[in-house]
């Protein structure tokens, strides 16, 4: 049986993502209880950066043509090789589109238990127990994994990043035989904007039905979001009415988000929308209807006309510089 914790450190063109530091910080805490070392895995990059300073004793790297762009086949093979090399008790990965695709296959291949989209992790009796939302956050449960290896994907922004007090990591390059991927990437389509994904965003501005049109959405919601570098979201009603694309929908049948700041503009707060954003640390509601359920869930509320409030707020945010 293995010990210690392996963290999947994701990166964007070699720049390590915040989720890696969140997971390393938590892994350090957990390893202090369950024992073993903390290591990290970099797929498609070989510069460990400051992963060592955040607690990774060893950084396993996997590089080569097969890893320049995500494929399920290559990533599962890399994960398998890193698990063989590190022999961990626990593997933590961010709940990114890539990990969410690869981990079920990995779990089935290894016959290991997997908890997805967890938002809490703690050591209990020498094992790691997770907490995760169900029904898009309308309920929560503990998740216990039996067996020698526990796999978890963790929702971004679930844990704070600690101090960089560690040393430098030992880098171990793994050679991984991938074979022919079953699914080939033939093209990539860039996102329409340059903001981070809703599921990873630290700030979100969302518009609802009361925005009334796509033109208004582009005129009031997007500039407000841009003024604080926030990612744009939308309610199901706004998406169904064509004001915003499906990829921007927040809620039980859209993205479930976990930002520090969520600004809901012209959103009444239907139960399925609340389910998707209720774990946001600070919620601001701007709505004309004082009876709108969103106000019962918001930290700060402004009862008012969004068409008056949004331009003023955009201006104030811009003034912050």
């Amino acid at each position: 049986m293995g010990n210690g914790i392996l963290v999947v450190a994701e990166h964007e063109g070699g720049t390590i993502k915040k989720t890696a530091y969140e997971l390393l910080t938590k892994a350090g805490e957990l390893a202090a209880s369950i024992g073993g070392k903390v290591s990290a895995l970099l797929i498609g990059a070989d510069d460990p950066g400051d992963l060592g300073a955040y607690g990774a004793g060893t950084v396993y790297t996997v590089t080569g043509d097969a890893f320049t762009h995500y494929t399920t086949t290559a990533t599962v093979a890399a994960l398998q090789a890193a698990i063989e090399a590190a022999d961990p008790a626990v593997v933590l990965a961010p709940a990114s589109p890539q990990a969410k695709d690869a981990f079920p296959r990995l779990a089935a291949r290894l016959g290991a238990g997997l908890g997805t989209e967890v938002t809490g992790l703690e050591a209990r009796d020498g094992r790691v127990v997770a907490r995760r939302p169900q029904y898009a956050g309308k309920a929560f449960t503990d998740v216990h994994i039996k067996g020698d290896l526990a796999l978890f994907t963790v929702r971004p922004n679930s844990f704070a990043v600690g101090e960089a007090t560690g040393g430098s990591a030992e880098v171990v390059a793994l050679s991984v035989d991938v074979g022919e991927p079953k699914v080939k990437v033939v093209d990539t389509e860039a996102p329409s904007g340059d903001t981070v994904d809703l599921t990873e965003a630290d700030r979100i501005v969302s518009g609802g039905r009361a925005v009334k049109s796509k033109e208004n959405f582009d005129k009031y919601i997007r500039p407000l979001a841009a003024s604080i570098g926030a990612t744009v979201g939308a309610s199901r009603a706004a998406v169904d009415a064509g004001y915003a694309p499906h990829s921007e929908q927040v809620g039980q049948t859209g993205k479930v988000v976990n930002p520090s700041l969520y600004i809901a503009v012209g959103i009444s707060g239907a139960i399925q929308h609340l389910a998707g954003m209720r774990t946001s640390k600070i919620i601001v509601a701007i709505n004309k209807d004082p009876e709108a359920p969103i106000f019962q869930h918001s930290t700060y509320g402004i009862v008012g006309d969004l068409f008056d409030i949004c331009p003023l707020l955009t201006e104030e945010f811009q003034a912050l510089g």
Partner: protein
């Protein structure tokens, strides 16, 4: 080509969730059930391939009890040709890997070459089963697809890769594909469809019918155990800001900066 659609019934997305017992789960007494919304996109994609004569038939595969029959009937009424409900006391308490073993065995038994599923079921939100089925069958898989083209046994799909970006991928059958909102507009059942569905039979199969070793599924084989169910913590009542628009906006920015420290 025969298509299998993985279909699950879930509490409606507007359902209020109550906890029955912290050790076992939610109170289902007042729950209205519906087809998992993402499975509806999978079903519609399958039916469109059949309409375009690229699929010979569509079979619905569901793990569950007789209470799921109404949802399966709905799928048959929309145009699915056949349905298999996988039901056996040995299946009780399966985790995702157990469910995947059942569905993989059923897919094999039905001789399907393409499995379509929702990107996740909106009850457990695990998003595990389809990828596991693909691994167990040794098939390729494509996750979270919102555009799909099919020609001569080759699939071209657009899958989410984060931040609104998409990968365009190509693969050959056999495949497991999970479907996202935006892929299509699911149809409703027509009156004719509803009448025809009454004559279609829902086959019920257990471990023995599938040649499945019952010790590999069910609660005893489960590696993932969930307990300690609770509702999310209530948020404290918020503060409604007072004054004219300019005053309230200034006050909001001050609170976000100085009190909440999020900007």
């Amino acid at each position: 080509m025969k298509i299998g659609v993985l279909l699950k019934q879930v509490p409606a997305s507007d359902a209020r969730i109550k906890i029955a017992d912290p050790s076992t789960g939610i109170d289902t007494a007042d729950i209205k059930w519906e087809i998992n919304p993402y499975d509806e996109y999978a079903l519609e994609a399958a039916l469109q391939l059949k309409d375009a004569k690229q699929a010979s038939s569509v079979v619905v595969l569901t793990v569950g009890g007789a209470d799921a029959d109404q949802r399966i009937r709905d799928a048959l009424a929309r145009g699915a040709d056949a349905a298999v409900r996988l039901d056996d006391p040995a299946f009780e308490g399966s985790d995702c890997l157990g469910i995947a073993r059942i569905l993989a065995a059923a897919a094999k038994a039905e001789g399907v070459e393409l499995l379509l599923a929702g990107k996740q079921a909106i009850d457990g939100d695990n998003a595990q089963v389809p990828g596991m089925v693909a691994e167990l069958l040794g098939w390729g898989n494509i996750s979270v697809v919102d555009k799909l083209e099919f020609a001569d046994g080759t699939v071209k799909a657009w899958r989410a890769s984060g931040g609104g970006a998409r990968d365009v991928v190509e693969a050959s059958l056999p495949l497991v594909i999970t479907c996202d909102k935006g892929l299509n507009e699911p149809r409703y059942a027509s009156l004719k469809g509803i009448m025809m569905a009454k004559r279609k039979k829902i086959a019920v199969k257990g471990a023995a019918d599938l040649g499945l070793d019952p010790s590999t599924v069910g609660a005893a084989a489960a590696l993932v155990v969930e307990d300690n169910w609770s509702l999310p913590p209530e948020r404290p009542a918020g503060r409604i800001l007072e004054g004219d628009d300019a005053t309230r906006v200034k006050e909001l920015v001050r609170l976000l900066r100085d009190e909440a420290k999020v900007i």
